[in-house]
């Protein structure tokens, strides 16, 4: 029977095919656990590793991720250029989050100047894990929805549960970050193994000719 092609579904499938390799999870996990490790190193060597670690990780992990995409994903499922539409959506989301974050920051700063109190800052520090936990859940839901990656919901939920649990049990933030990062990395490796099995290399002909 003739039916109208479901373009949204086709677009979603094309996008999903590109992110089912688990590389995003492996490198996100590496980033999270590396951040946690940086915080632990702060205590051991009394140097501010926790603050510089994210920058070091981005500078090292991002080029490896791009190279891994070229070496593992592209020879198996081919090359696709999604154009600017998809990236515009993600960029708008990033921008929205940044504006919202700045708005909250300025609102708090303004309230501090008005009232002359820094109570809100103490409140944030005291409840940091809860804020990061629910913040992670919101960010994961937003990105999971916009990228069509449902597993991000699970990661968000896992982060929220672990951080709320850590807050009430008094577990050090760095340990929770490391456990979360390793969990996401293991999930990524499981996805990568499944991906490599599903799309085996077919020799040089895989680079379309």
């Amino acid at each position: 029977m003739t039916k109208e092609p479901n373009l949204k579904e086709i677009e979603r499938r094309a996008y999903m095919a590109y992110h089912q390799d688990g590389l995003l999870d492996i490198f996100a996990g590496l980033f999270i656990s590396g951040w946690g490790l940086g915080m632990l190193m702060d205590i051991l060597w009394e140097f501010n590793f926790g603050a510089i670690m994210p920058a070091i990780l981005i500078a090292t992990v991002l080029p490896i991720w791009i190279a891994a995409k070229r070496r593992i994903t592209m020879p198996r499922i081919g090359y696709v250029n999604f154009g600017t539409r998809g990236s515009n959506k993600i960029f708008a989301l990033f921008l929205g989050l940044m504006v919202a974050g700045l708005g909250v920051f300025f609102a708090f700063t303004f309230a501090t100047y008005q009232g002359g109190s820094r109570q809100w800052l103490d409140l944030i520090v005291q409840n940091g894990m809860l804020i990061v936990g629910f913040g992670s859940l919101s960010v994961c839901i937003l990105f999971g929805y916009s990228m069509g990656l449902k597993r991000l919901y699970a990661y968000g939920l896992l982060a929220a549960i672990a951080l709320v649990f850590g807050h009430f049990m008094g577990i050090f933030f760095a340990y929770i970050l490391m456990v979360l990062g390793i969990t996401v990395m293991v999930a990524g490796f499981a996805l990568l193994i499944g991906f490599v099995r599903k799309y085996p290399l077919k020799g040089d002909k895989t680079i379309a000719e």
Partner: protein
């Protein structure tokens, strides 16, 4: 054509994976679309390997839009 409509460009392997067509079948489809001026084939080198990128032309996009419109009209006219 629907696969190429939702992206800017893609290579043969990607289209084959997405459509689940055999290489011969897909190649025949693409040749016909290229002859009709609907698909543009660009040959380039990525990391010193030959790479063929396929994209819909303006004519191809317009033709696909028209096709969608016609199918939609046809489906709407069908009785419940």
């Amino acid at each position: 054509m629907a696969q190429l409509y939702v992206v800017q460009s893609a290579d043969f392997l990607f289209l084959q994976n997405q459509t689940q067509m055999t290489p011969g079948n897909l190649s025949a489809h693409l040749s016909k679309l290229e002859d009709a001026g609907y698909v543009e084939v660009t040959k380039e080198f990525i990391e010193r390997k030959p790479h063929t990128a396929l994209a819909l032309t303006k004519k191809g996009r317009a033709a696909f839009k028209e096709y969608r419109k016609k199918v939609k009209q046809f489906v709407e006219k069908l009785p419940e």
